[in-house]
């Protein structure tokens, strides 16, 4: 790479990062709105929310929290790795992040299918016999953890795409804005879970 060929290269890392942050703000407000809906309904139906939250498995919730926190660390480390020009370590750390994300989704699958096997899913006969508050709790549970899981899937696709760019040397120690942005997105997913976990699994 000679310096002369790159004089005309058009790049704005700062702008790319600012754009990513602005997108993250819209996501924060989206989930923030859902958190407000949750807290208002919780305030209006304290007993039913207490009862319904006991149905959730704290162990699976805690395991998924640990998984997401570790994956957040590995993607953050991958940026340090690319800055130190260690391509192999960058790819390993990104790969671990994706594997942990898959583990999160596998846990989520078992959690949801367990609930569905017990007849708890939106519109199920069991739930229709339950109180209004319980219907609201499980509606919000499926909507919010489902939307969060969708973000996990998108995050995996994003990180996998950036991994391809790293392999092709299109992301390097002096040009890693997109890796940073995929990391920011992944941390957002982690950030949302940090609040989803206590609200649904812990506060009973």
């Amino acid at each position: 790479m000679s310096n002369h060929t790159h004089i005309d290269e058009h790049r704005d890392d700062e702008g790319a990062k600012t754009g990513m942050w602005i997108f993250i703000f819209t996501e924060l407000l989206l989930f923030g709105g859902l958190f407000i809906v949750y807290s208002v309904y919780r305030y209006l139906n304290p007993a039913a929310f207490h009862l319904a939250a006991e149905e959730l498995d704290t162990f699976i919730g805690t395991a998924n929290t640990v998984i997401l926190l570790i994956s957040s660390m590995t993607i953050a480390m991958s940026i340090s790795a690319i800055q130190s020009q260690n391509k192999k370590l960058t790819l390993i750390l990104m790969g671990i992040t994706i594997l942990l994300a898959v583990a999160f989704m596998v846990n989520k699958y078992f959690e949801w299918s367990g609930k569905i096997a017990h007849g708890i899913y939106p519109g199920s006969p069991t739930l229709m016999d339950a109180s209004q508050g319980e219907i609201l709790f499980f509606g919000l549970y499926y909507a919010m953890t489902g939307l969060h899981a969708l973000h996990i899937v998108i995050g995996v696709a994003f990180i996998a795409y950036v991994m391809r760019l790293v392999v092709k040397d299109e992301v390097q120690h002096d040009n890693f804005a997109i890796l940073e942005n995929s990391g920011l997105y992944w941390h957002l997913v982690d950030l949302i879970w940090i609040f989803l976990f206590p609200l649904f699994y812990l506060i009973t």
């Binding site: 703000f25 407000i36 976990f197 506060i203």
Partner: protein, 95 residues
């Protein structure tokens, strides 16, 4: 400005320490909520979640090392969200 952004490499050790702190806070919040402290359970769990998200924002998301401009924007968004939550609850608590 680009130089500033690109020369700062966060040490792996820093990330490991942050992860340990995050995990400890997670287990603390699980332990606290199983104690049944009544109304304090919610506040304790949310305060811990707040500290955890602060750590993620500052270290993992590099707000501490980036230009202050980003930190100010993020703080404004959380302030906005806080205001909306506050006003919503003014309505529900006193209607």
């Amino acid at each position: 400005m680009e130089k500033e952004q690109h020369t700062h490499i966060v040490k792996y050790k820093t990330y490991v320490f942050v992860l340990i702190a995050l995990l400890l806070m997670t287990f603390t919040s699980v332990a606290i909520t199983s104690l049944n402290l009544g109304p304090y359970t919610v506040s304790a769990a949310l305060v811990l979640a707040g500290i955890k998200s602060l750590l993620v924002l500052l270290i993992f998301m590099h707000l501490k090392f980036d230009k202050k401009f980003y930190a100010i924007m993020v703080a404004s968004v959380f302030l906005l969200l806080g205001c909306v939550i506050f006003i919503t609850f003014l309505d529900y608590l006193y209607r």
